[in-house]
Symmetry: D2
Subunit: 98 residues, 4 copies
């Protein structure tokens, strides 16, 4: 089952600047080999369910290891069984209709 | 790693009434034995990371099997390594400060 | 246009314990007179669009005033024009199908 | 109060293909003159609180008018009072740490 995910990890209790911690998550995603795209409020990830969610777990582990005592994460995740769709398809289908 | 999750599964392409599909997800959660609490915009789930996310995957599988061609899910998930906290603790800590 | 909202306000840069700040938001909601219900990962709010979103803005203002330099909030918000539905209806429609 | 928002509008009860409806929302955003950036699971919007949330309301109105009986929307919204930050700053601060 393929998923397209929007992942936004928020470390808590580490002060007001979060990028140093969020970078740990991006290292995990890069190592995962998954297709990703960073935006201003999270990262889009595309891949098989188990691989994507394994990466999310490793993100939490890495951000805790970096020193964050608490994390709250917001995830949007889409699956479809009617047809295959990539992250590029989703953007294109809106742009073409504009 | 223990998590507290807020799970909101939205089947797409099945008409305007979703409860028949969402019930499939609740059957999965019930069978999982995880601690859950239904609210008006999702379900709170508490448990170990792997067990909770395995249940989320089964929810998607069950809702697709029921006939939904597409699903979009919104998840909030919290982990903390500084101390143990239950879903009741989270509500209580706000109520006590009110 | 009536809305049912799930609101989760996360103050950033105030340490690991957030309830003291989140309580400021709950005072705002109480003063608003809106129908609300607290759960372990947010608060359900029901009311007219403008009143509900005005309360959300006041929450951000109150939490900043309490001392939080940064806030990230996750909102789920539903509207429907086919029929009226309360937060209790939403829970009941799932429970009746279980 | 400036906000950076991630907006994801999901029309319900209109079948499996949503882009035709989501486009109505993008027309609203374009007309608003707000700074926006489309990604695969929503749109980033930057601007003053009132202008951004007025656009979100108009999106719901436009998508209902197009024929969607029901909408569920997921919003992430960030505010900060310590310093000014743009959507480009947020991406850059992560990329520079990578």
């Amino acid at each position: 089952m393929k998923v397209i995910m929007d992942l936004c990890v928020v470390p808590i209790g580490v002060g007001v600047s979060l990028s140093e911690y969020i970078v740990e998550c991006h290292k995990v995603l890069k190592d995962s080999g998954l297709k990703t795209e960073l935006h201003a409020y999270g990262t889009i990830i595309e891949g098989e369910w188990d691989a994507v969610f394994a990466a999310v777990k490793k993100c939490h582990e890495a951000v805790h290891e970096k020193g964050a005592p608490r994390i709250t994460t917001t995830i949007k995740v889409g699956t479809r069984v009617d047809r295959d769709q990539t992250m590029e398809d989703k953007v294109r289908s809106v742009e073409e209709n504009l």
